[in-house]
C-alpha cells in the first residue's frame, strides 16, 4: 500500500489498540480470559489479512506493511496473536491456500511428514492455548511443505509465557492437516520472518517503555521537585533512549531489507542481526526503565511490566541473541577477516 494509506492504517490501528486493548484486557489474558470481542474487531479491521493478496480477500499490503503494523501492536502489548495469525495467513496465501478466519499460530520446530500426516513436538508455541489452527513448514527430501493443522488434531500442553500469554507445547501425533501444499518459503525462512515480527514488536515495546519512564519521571516529585530534573535520572533516560533507538533502527532496517529482497530470502542477514540486537538490548531497556520508576514500576498494578515482560519473552522467541548471533558469527568466522567489511556494507552473511 502507498505511504499515505499505510500511515492512515497505522494511526487507526494505534488508536484502536489504545482504546480496546488497554490494561484490563492485557491483565485479563494473563488470567486466562480470551478477549473475543477484541479479536473480532481486529479481524473486522483486516489486520490478520494485511499481507494477503486482495484476490484472496486480503488487504493486499506488503510484508513491510505487516511489519509496520506489528510495531504498533508491540507498542500496545496487544495480547492476542495478531503477529502469529497475520504471518501464518501470509504463508498460507503464498503456498496457494486461502486463509481461514480465527486466531492461528506458527508451530516452528522439528516436524516430520509421513504421507499427509504430521508428527513431532514443538515447545513454546505462542498462543497455542487459544489458536484454532497451527501453521507449520515441514522439510522432507529437500522440499518444504506448508501444513495447516486444526486445533482438534493436536495435543496442547499449556505453558504460559512469563508475560502471561497462553504459550504451550504442541504435540502432533500423525495429525491430519486441513490444508497442505508445497511452500516456496522454507522452514528456516519462516523462522526468520517470525523473528522479524518479534523484532518489530520489540521496537514498539521499547518505544513505549521509553515514553512511559520519561513521563513518569516528569511527574514524580521527590525532594520537592520532579525527579526528571535530577541529572542522574536525565542521563539514565538518555541511555535508555539510546537502547530504544538501536532496537527501532535495527528492526526497521531489517523490515525494509526483508520486504525489498522478497518473501523467500530477502534481508536474511539483516533479520538475524536485528533480532540479535533487539534481544541483546532488551534487558538494558527493562533494567533502566524499572530503575527509573522505582517500586511503582515493579508492581503488577502499573503497566510497565506489560512491556518489560514481553521484551524478556520476545527476546527468546524465534531465536535469541545467542541463536542468531551464532549463525552470524559462524558465517563471518568461516569467511575470514577480509570478508568482514564487504559483507557488513552489503548487509549480508559473509561468504
Amino acid at each position: 500500500m502507498d505511504r499515505e494509506t499505510r500511515d492512515m492504517l497505522l494511526e487507526t490501528a494505534g488508536r484502536f489498540f489504545a482504546e480496546r486493548a488497554g490494561k484490563d484486557v492485557v491483565n485479563g489474558v494473563e488470567k486466562g480470559v480470551w478477549p473475543a470481542d477484541l479479536w473480532k474487531e481486529i479481524e473486522e479491521m483486516g489486520l490478520p489479512l494485511i499481507a494477503v493478496p486482495e484476490d484472496l480477500d486480503g488487504v493486499g499490503g506488503t510484508l513491510a506493511d505487516l511489519m509496520a503494523m506489528l510495531r504498533v501492536a508491540g507498542e500496545h502489548a496487544v495480547p492476542v496473536p495478531v503477529a502469529e495469525t497475520a504471518l501464518a495467513n501470509l504463508l498460507v496465501a503464498a503456498a496457494g491456500g486461502k486463509p481461514a478466519t480465527g486466531p492461528s499460530t506458527l508451530a516452528l520446530g522439528e516436524l516430520s511428514l509421513q504421507g499427509n500426516r504430521v508428527s513431532g513436538k514443538v515447545a513454546r508455541v505462542p498462543f497455542a492455548g487459544v489458536a484454532e489452527r497451527f501453521v507449520a513448514i515441514v522439510t522432507a527430501g529437500g522440499k518444504s511443505t506448508l501444513v495447516v493443522v486444526p486445533r482438534d488434531a493436536v495435543a496442547v500442553e499449556d505453558a504460559p509465557s512469563h508475560a502471561g500469554e497462553p504459550y504451550g507445547t504442541v504435540t502432533f501425533d500423525g495429525a491430519t492437516p486441513e490444508f497442505s501444499a508445497a511452500s516456496a518459503v522454507s522452514a528456516e525462512r519462516a523462522l526468520e520472518l517470525a523473528a522479524l515480527a518479534r523484532a518489530m514488536q520489540m521496537a514498539g515495546a521499547a518505544d513505549k517503555v521509553l515514553v512511559t519512564a520519561t513521563e513518569y519521571c516528569k511527574q514524580r516529585v521527590q525532594f520537592g521537585r520532579p525527579i526528571s530534573t535530577f541529572q542522574a535520572i536525565q542521563h539514565m533516560l538518555a541511555e535508555l533512549a539510546s537502547y530504544a533507538a538501536a532496537t527501532i533502527a535495527s528492526a526497521e532496517a531489517a523490515s525494509r531489507d526483508a520486504d525489498e529482497g522478497g518473501l523467500e530470502t530477502g534481508g536474511s542477514f539483516s533479520i538475524a542481526a536485528a533480532k540479535t540486537q533487539c534481544s541483546d538490548f532488551a534487558h538494558r531497556i527493562a533494567a533502566i526503565s524499572h530503575q527509573s520508576m522505582g517500586a511503582m514500576g515493579f508492581t503488577h498494578e502499573h503497566i510497565l511490566h506489560h512491556y518489560t515482560r514481553r521484551l524478556w519473552v520476545w527476546r527468546r522467541d524465534f531465536g535469541s541473541e545467542s541463536f542468531w548471533g551464532e549463525k552470524i558469527g559462524q558465517s563471518f568466522a568461516k569467511a575470514g577477516k577480509d570478508e568482514l567489511w564487504p559483507a557488513l556494507t552489503e548487509s549480508r552473511y559473509a561468504a
Binding site: 521509553l210 516528569k218 538518555a238 538501536a246 523490515s255 540479535t276 541473541e321 567489511w341
Partner: protein, 385 residues
C-alpha cells in the same frame, strides 16, 4: 509536552555512492600496501601526508565542495562512503582528517573569499592540514569559558593564552582557534571569535602533551603576544560561539564514531579461526550485529540530513552508542580470544592488539563531546531539561 518519537528511517546509500565505494576500495587495495605507517593499526588519526596527497589526487578530499575551490561538488553521501571505506580498511587518514571533515566546511560556510581561495584548494590536494584550538587548561566541556584573548590592534589581533589537547599541531599548518575578542571572561557566549592561525606565527609555541599510551598526538599551543592579521578572522567578530556550535554538530553520527578500532573486530575474526565454538560464534555475532545496527543508524541519520532535516537527538544517540561500543569491543574481544583463540601465537599477538585498543578506549567517550554532554543533549530533546 509530548516526547518526540525516535525515528531512524532506513536509508539506502544511492547507486552513485555505491559505485564510488568500488573505486575507493580498488584504490585502497592498491595504495595502502605502499604507504609506510608508524602505526601497526592505522586509523583516522594516523598521519600520512603521502596517503593524503594520493587521496587528494583522486578527487576525494573536499568531495562535496564547489569546484571553484578544488572540490568535487558531489553529495554528502559520497563523502559518507569515502569516510567509511577509509575506516573499514584502516587507512592512515590523520593528516587531512580535520581539514576535510571540519575546518574546510567551516571556511566554506563562514570564511572570507580570500581565505577560501587561499586554503581550500590546498586541502583538496591533500597538502594542507588543520588543528582545532578549542579546549584550554580551564575550559573543556564548558567551552564558553575560554580565556585566550585576542586584543584588537592596528591591522589585526594580539593573542595571548593557551590551548590544550591540540591534536597534530606539531605537524599541521593551521589551527582554527577560538578566542575572546571582546567583553570579559564571564560573558560566556558573547564576544568569542574564531581565528585562522598559521602555526608558524612568531609567538606561537607548540609543546607535546604525551598521552597515556606514550603517543604524541596532542599539544599545548601557547600564544605570547602573537600577532594575527585581521584577514585571519573567520566570519564576524563575536560570532565565534555560533560558528563553533555548528562545527560541533557537524556529523556527530558519522562512521568515525563507531569504527575507530574496527581493526580489533577484524583481528578477532582472524584469531578465532574458521570454526569457532558455539559460544564464541555467538559472542562474535553479537558484536557484528551491534556494529551493523550502528551503521544502519548512521546511514539513517545521513539520509535524514540529506533530506534537509537536522536530527540532532538521533545523531547524539549514534555517538553515545557508537563510542561505548568501541569501548566494549576490545574488552569482549580480549576475554573471548583468551578462551577461544586457535593457536598460542595468534593469541599473544592479538592480546597485544586488544590491550592497546583498551588503552585508547577512554578517549572515545571524551573527544568531540563527552558521553555526559551528549546525554544532556538527549535529555533536553526528551523534554527533561
Amino acid at each position: 509536552m509530548s516526547i518526540p518519537k525516535l525515528e531512524f528511517p532506513p536509508f539506502h546509500l544511492p547507486a552513485e555512492a555505491e559505485a564510488l565505494r568500488g573505486e575507493v576500495r580498488a584504490f585502497l587495495k592498491e595504495t595502502l600496501p605502499r604507504i609506510k605507517s608508524e602505526d601497526r593499526f592505522a586509523s583516522w588519526n594516523t598521519p600520512s601526508p603521502e596517503f593524503s596527497k594520493a587521496l587528494g589526487a583522486k578527487g576525494w578530499l573536499g568531495i562535496t565542495w564547489p569546484k571553484q575551490y578544488g572540490g568535487g561538488e558531489r553529495s554528502f553521501l559520497d563523502r559518507f562512503v569515502v569516510t567509511e571505506e577509509l575506516l573499514g580498511n584502516s587507512a592512515p587518514a590523520g593528516s587531512h582528517w580535520v581539514a576535510d571533515r571540519q575546518s574546510g566546511p567551516l571556511l566554506l560556510k563562514f570564511g572570507t573569499e580570500q581565505q577560501r581561495q587561499a586554503i581550500l584548494p590546498r586541502i583538496t590536494r591533500g597538502e594542507c592540514y588543520f588543528s582545532i584550538g578549542m579546549s584550554e587548561p580551564d575550559s573543556g566541556s564548558d567551552l564558553a569559558s575560554v580565556r585566550t584573548r585576542a586584543e584588537p590592534v592596528p591591522g589585526g589581533f594580539r593573542v595571548n593564552g593557551t590551548k590544550v589537547w591540540t591534536s597534530g599541531a606539531h605537524r599541521n599548518h593551521y589551527c582554527i582557534t577560538l578566542v575572546r575578542t571582546s567583553g570579559q571572561h564571564g560573558d560566556r557566549h558573547k564576544g568569542l571569535s574564531q581565528l585562522l592561525v598559521d602555526l608558524k606565527t612568531p609567538g606561537v609555541t607548540i609543546r607535546p602533551i604525551i598521552n597515556l599510551a606514550g603517543r604524541h598526538d596532542w599539544n599545548e599551543v601557547t600564544f605570547s603576544d602573537a600577532f594575527i592579521p585581521e584577514d585571519c578572522l573567520i566570519g564576524n567578530e563575536g560570532d565565534g560561539w555560533l560558528q563553533v556550535t555548528s562545527e560541533l554538530a557537524f556529523e556527530r553520527s558519522g562512521p568515525e564514531r563507531f569504527m575507530q578500532n574496527f581493526y580489533v573486530l577484524r583481528e578477532l575474526v582472524r584469531v578465532l579461526g574458521r570454526q569457532p565454538a558455539k559460544r564464541a560464534s555467538a559472542i562474535l555475532g553479537r558484536l557484528i550485529a551491534r556494529l551493523w545496527t550502528l551503521r544502519q543508524m548512521s546511514t539513517a541519520v545521513a539520509g535524514m540530513m540529506q533530506g534537509g532535516k537536522s536530527p540532532a537527538i538521533e545523531a547524539s544517540l549514534v555517538k553515545d552508542l557508537g563510542t561505548i561500543y568501541q569501548q566494549d569491543l576490545p574488552e569482549i574481544a580480549r576475554t573471548l580470544a583468551e578462551s577461544d583463540a586457535t593457536t598460542e601465537d595468534d593469541l599473544a599477538d592479538f592480546l597485544d592488539i586488544a590491550q592497546y585498543a583498551s588503552m585508547m578506549a577512554p578517549s572515545y567517550t571524551i573527544q568531540g563531546g563527552t558521553t555526559q554532554v551528549l546525554r544532556g543533549i538527549v535529555a533536553r530533546g526528551l523534554g527533561l531539561r
